[in-house]
Symmetry: C2
Subunit: 200 residues, 2 copies
DNA sequence: GCCAAATGCAAGTGCTCACTTACATATGCG
DNA sequence: CGCATATGTAAGTGAGCACTTGCATTTGGC
């Protein structure tokens, strides 16, 4: 009971994450989760007392795994701001696409599970944000970023562009351009918008 | 049957929209919708054969009402690009906030109802986008916007910033700034990013 | 006043869901 | 082997859901 065979618990968590992301929290059923985990439904309830307990466990599991994933990719920022932004944008965009169903579920049902949403945000997205802001700050010290804007807002606006682009591209409508072009344009406009102004 | 008393049908539609937005499509129940419409549940099924029919009717109702709302606010674009962007951003942001629960539901469950999602997007958001792009285009002809970027992408990136800001501000976390500052900064960065560059 | 249409009301049907109970089987460890 | 722990199987419980049926009541136009 203290340390159940990891493979069973992990298989359930993995299947549950997939089901919650794909079908929504309301829509996911313990039956299908157990089935897709290759496990009896009763076993699911023996590991996590109820659906809410399973959901909570999935959330900490998500935070942990994203934290591991993100530990390595603190890509070095060179002197070229635009190039750094481009690399950051491509990395982030790929991750957003990879987490698309989960992110959609969090947007849609996050307000009905504010506690979980907040911990996921604080433990998984805030660190990335903080690193990005810090990088912008050093770029500013190097004179590459204008002084009159809040870098937290700038960071949030930039990631929001990419996030919106992901939602659009995965939404099934055609908008007359391709993803790489979208990302590059975002980087271009944002970099130009951050650059020290001639004068106002 | 051909033209049922408008008030009943409309009350159901209104309550259904509210419930779908608040509780999600899966989460909303015909019982609570009928209750909140002040109508017997059977009446609901007599007007719309089933939950899916109700959902479809709600979608066309949404599109129609948004279309009416948007008919008047084609605010004039003066010569000052930044001022135009600021006004557009404030208007759009207010509308996004007003539609927050519905938008969250569409993000979260839209992929499971792609048909409805597409018509809502095509009939309600694309017109706004097209007008915005057209305005950017005339600004470009006036020499206020650089030539080397796709205005469709620019438009989508700009609205995505505002959309992301709305999600953030309504998400219950504090990010160290207030909404008007966020909107103004988005406008500032975007306007600077669109401005014709000195040279690259 | 009369009739048809719209609505209300009470009850019920069949289904699915989260969750439980009781018992059988496997697996690993001393 | 013997025992504890993890898992499987079968069956069931109570609740909520979408949706239906039959009948009573209102309402508005003729």
């Amino acid at each position: 009971m203290s340390d159940p065979t990891p493979s069973t618990r992990d298989r359930i968590l993995k299947a549950a994450l997939l089901a919650f992301a794909r079908d929504g929290i309301q829509g996911a059923t313990t039956r299908t989760i157990a089935q897709e985990a290759g496990v009896n439904e009763v076993t699911l309830f023996r590991h996590f007392q109820n659906k809410e307990g399973l959901l909570a466990a999935v959330m900490v599991h998500v935070v942990q795994s994203r934290h591991q994933d993100a530990s390595g990719d603190d890509a070095e920022w060179t002197g070229d701001l635009k190039q750094n932004l481009q690399r950051f944008a491509e990395d982030l965009y790929a991750k957003l696409v990879g987490d698309e169903p989960f992110l959609r579920t969090m947007i849609g049902e996050g307000r009905r599970h504010q506690d979980h949403a907040k911990t996921v945000i604080m433990d998984a997205v805030k660190p990335v944000r903080d690193r990005f802001i810090a990088n912008l700050e050093t770029a500013r010290k190097a004179g590459l970023v204008r002084e009159d804007i809040d870098l937290g807002i700038a960071s949030d606006a930039f990631t929001a562009m990419l996030f919106g682009g992901m939602l659009r591209s995965t939404g099934g409508c055609s908008w007359g351009y391709e993803v790489p072009q979208f990302v590059s344009t975002c980087v271009d406009v944002f970099a130009a918008g951050l650059a020290p102004q001639p004068q106002s």
